[in-house]
């Protein structure tokens, strides 16, 4: 396959000469070649999009731009000269800043410190805290994040952490900004804010690389798209290319329907999950809802609305002050994950890396954790059974991996996400609680996950799906609950609901909520 990308720095359409180019780069890990002979140019005032399935090699590629990996073949060219980037500092010295796909913050440190990490200001040999706070405040303002720079990062939700990460990269004032799936954890509001900043930077002549699995974002913010498949460059096309065409380039086939929701369950629509008056001081207020057999209940809301807390409370991961959770009519004990699992609840948490997976363990192990005990004989693990079931499930979910003995931490993000899902397939969960289930998952894999959701409801299960991706909520839910400030602000029938309707419910109580928080901080 010969990439059709022009290697010439100047293009006939008048595109400016690239600030940074990867020329024919190759990267191997042990026996596997994950990037092969790929050329990408990053030009000032342009947003170069990298598109590809999970594991296509996008992150690997950008890590060669930011000094984390060195190419095994080919070269990195900056300002027309071949360079080596032995470490992150070297890349930063050339004006390259990167927002990595996985969060790279120090949870125990403050927002301000994280933003200045690696280049804290000094005065008279000592740390200049004031300058650091000022830098942070400016960076946060720019991205529109309203948190105290002295706040500990670990206490923020994933979305806010992502924004801190973005603020950090922006504060570098880089010439070349690399963004690896920055929008995966964000809701529309924050995405708008981010894109506003990206446009400003484009005006200012910054060269950018942007990765996202949300195809609509590509046309919105990108200029040109490099499409990768299996580590090779398939084509470079303008960002205005229609979505179906992009999908075809990327997965090598057509995907007819991005949200293939089918409600096929024809049994009785019993209430499977019954949540009554769930309350946790300051987080959840009197949340009551039901999910019936065959139904997907979507939960939308702004960042910090309490959606994650709701799912965690139901799943037994967090305690609550009052309320009841019943599964098939039987109450669950508070804060008892194992009990919830036995009752048929499966929980895909918000962040696979910190809550979903044991990264150092194998795919088979990770798939089997929830069923380890139930399939055991006299306390001994059913090893052969667990492995063959793991194989079946990973095939079913099309997890891309060498074999089930591969370390899960070495899989691409989307494939990791599928492994977390697979755990509940194995457990045969009837009630699935999904928190941002397709964060960082490519279009193809996303459809596979949706099909899995369909099969769960077809078999008479119920799914509660929290997502910040509104098209997903609208496209895959049968019914939508909107949360705001810890309580249910309203309910919509998915058919015919619009993004605007959801948003207006979601922001309805936000002002009041902000006031509450301000009061809380004073007491």
């Amino acid at each position: 396959m010969n990439p059709s990308t022009p290697d010439a720095p100047e293009r006939p359409d008048g595109a400016p000469a690239p600030l940074l180019s990867l020329e024919g780069v190759t990267k191997t890990f042990g026996p596997v070649t994950v990037v092969e002979d790929v050329t990408v140019h990053v030009r000032p005032g342009r947003v170069q999009v990298l598109l590809g399935e999970n594991g296509a090699g996008k992150s690997t590629l950008i890590k060669m731009m930011s000094g984390i990996y060195q190419p095994d073949g080919g070269r990195v060219v900056v300002d027309g000269e071949a360079v080596t980037l032995p470490d992150v500092r070297a890349a930063e010295a050339l004006g390259i800043a990167t927002i990595h796909q996985e969060l790279n913050l120090v949870p125990s440190m403050t927002v301000a410190e994280n933003i200045s990490l690696g280049r804290m200001p000094r005065r008279g040999g000592l740390l200049d805290r004031k300058a650091m706070r000022d830098t942070a405040r400016r960076a946060l303002e720019r991205i529109g994040l309203d948190v105290d720079p002295g706040h500990q990062v670990g206490e923020l939700g994933v979305a806010r952490q992502q924004l801190v990460e973005i603020a950090k990269a922006l504060s570098l004032d880089a010439r070349i900004l690399v963004l690896d799936e920055p929008t995966a954890a964000l809701t529309r509001t924050e995405i708008d804010q981010l894109f506003r900043v990206v446009r400003e930077l484009r005006e200012a002549g910054v060269a950018m690389v942007f990765i996202s699995h949300h195809l609509d974002e590509i046309a919105e913010i990108g200029d040109s798209v490099s499409v990768l498949r299996d580590g090779r460059l398939v084509d470079e096309v303008p960002a205005t290319t229609p979505e179906p065409e992009l999908v075809r380039l990327m997965v090598g086939r057509d995907i007819a329907d991005q949200f293939p929701r089918r409600r096929e369950h024809d049994g009785p629509d019993d209430v499977l999950l019954d949540v009554r008056g769930l309350t946790r001081s300051g987080v959840l207020q009197d949340v009551t809802f039901q999910a019936r057999a065959g139904e997907v209940v979507g939960v939308a809301g702004l960042v910090g609305a309490g959606r994650t807390e709701l799912l965690r409370s139901i799943a037994g991961a967090d305690p609550y002050d009052s309320g009841t959770v019943l599964v098939e009519g039987r109450p669950l004990r508070r804060k008892d994950v194992a009990g919830a699992i036995r009752a048929g609840v499966g929980h895909v948490p918000e962040d696979r890396k910190t809550q979903g997976l044991v990264l150092g363990a194998t795919v088979a192990e990770n798939l089997g954790y929830a069923t380890l005990r139930s399939t055991a004989r006299a306390g001994f693990v059913d090893r052969a059974g667990q492995r063959s079931r793991a194989r079946t499930v990973s095939e079913q979910l099309r997890v891309r991996m060498r074999d089930v003995d591969q370390t899960v931490g070495d899989l691409s993000g989307g494939n990791q996400q599928k492994v977390v899902f697979g755990r509940w397939v194995l457990a045969g969960s009837r009630v699935l609680l999904l928190d941002e289930p397709t964060r960082g998952v490519d279009v193809g894999a996303r459809v596979e996950i949706y099909e899995f959701v369909n099969s769960v409801t077809a078999a008479g299960g119920a799914v509660v799906m929290v997502s910040s991706d509104l098209p997903e909520v609208l496209g895959m839910s049968d019914r939508i609950l909107v949360m705001s400030g810890g309580h249910l602000a309203g309910e919509l029938d998915a058919a015919g609901a619009t993004q605007d309707q959801v948003m207006s419910l979601a922001v309805r109580d936000v002002d009041r909520d902000a006031e509450d928080r301000a009061e809380g901080a004073e007491s």
Binding site: G30, L359, G360
Partner: protein, 325 residues
């Protein structure tokens, strides 16, 4: 440990042998050490001396097997040396002073170990103490109780205990005990549900919890097993000396932890194997044996021991780095 994240074993070996080596890197260090000693002193490679080494490794190895559970689950157990002493002392006391039959005194010793382990485990799991603190406290408490029970004097053990120090058909019993204890530990870690749960808890406690693993129960199990193994090590020590010593096992905790870490486990949790731990314990025993055989001055011995430990682990680190790319 800060470096742990970068040195996670990859297990990328392709052949079976390659894989075994990749997973038991310290073995290379052990072999290098043995060859060096064989060259340095002919006494080293005699059948008799190899048996000696086995016997001398047995106490630390058994402690380290127990420690492997704890470290795999992400904790640390500083109390093992003291618990070994307490178990031996309670056993000897229950035989000599409380008039228990010999076999029951063995049970009493093992039970003492398991019980103290369980107490540490509960302090960690339910009392939420860092395991370093809980077991440091137990180190002090168990040693104090040993002294209280014994009034600071050795007590002779039952013949059933002394049997553990004897030789049967030319094979020293401590070596048999070591092998059985190692096999059982390996079986628990690799084949049982709770064993796999230990890896999950040590690898990512939050993911383990959200998968329905009862983390606290796993923690209690882990420390109870460590205590039980410490009890067994105590019986070995007492058996070899035919008496329970009040100061027995003092400082052994560092040796036991070292054996586990030399064997490739990470103090960050989630990684570790019984076979590695055995190699670690053998490395320690071989160094000491070799230095004795070579009659290195006892002052310099400590210097050499330190250097050899660093080099043995260093070989492993280097080897891993090289197989990476």
């Amino acid at each position: 440990m800060t470096t742990a994240t970068t040195t996670r074993p990859t297990g990328r070996g392709h052949s079976r042998v390659g894989r075994f080596l990749a997973e038991n890197g310290a073995l290379v260090g052990l072999v290098v050490l043995c060859v060096a000693l064989f060259v340095a002193t002919p006494d080293f490679l005699t059948g008799n001396n190899l048996l000696n080494i086995g016997v001398q490794a047995s106490t630390i190895a058994v402690l380290a097997f127990g420690m492997t559970f704890v470290i795999v689950a992400g904790g640390i157990d500083l109390s093992v040396g003291s618990v070994a002493a307490l178990a031996a002392m309670i056993s000897a006391w229950s035989y000599a002073s409380a008039g228990m039959p010999g076999w029951l005194s063995v049970v009493a010793g093992l039970a003492t170990g398991a019980l103290t382990g369980a107490v540490s485990g509960m302090a960690v799991a339910y009392g939420r103490l860092p395991s370093f603190i809980a077991t440091l406290a137990m180190l002090s408490v168990a040693r104090g109780l040993t002294l209280v029970v014994s009034d600071g004097r050795p007590i002779a053990t039952a013949s059933e205990v002394s049997f553990l120090g004897s030789t049967v058909l030319g094979v020293p019993v401590p070596i048999l005990v070591l092998l059985v204890a190692g096999l059982v530990a390996s079986l628990i870690l690799n084949r049982t549900v709770v064993g796999r749960e230990m890896y999950a808890v040590g690898g990512n406690v939050e993911a383990a919890r959200l998968s329905g693993i009862r983390v606290r129960r796993v923690l209690v199990t882990v420390f109870t097993l460590s205590g039980l193994y410490a009890g067994l090590a105590g019986m070995l020590l007492a058996g070899r000396l035919t008496s329970a010593q009040p100061q027995a096992g003092a400082g052994y905790e560092l040796d036991a932890i070292a054996a586990v870490v030399i064997g490739g486990a990470s103090l960050a949790g989630g990684v570790g194997r019984v076979s590695g731990t055995l190699v670690g314990a053998l490395i320690l025993a071989v160094i000491r044996n070799g230095l004795n055989l070579m009659n290195v001055s006892s002052f310099w011995q400590q210097v050499v021991i330190g250097v050899v430990i660093a080099v043995a682990v260093g070989i492993d680190v280097l080897r891993r780095k090289n197989t990476r790319h």
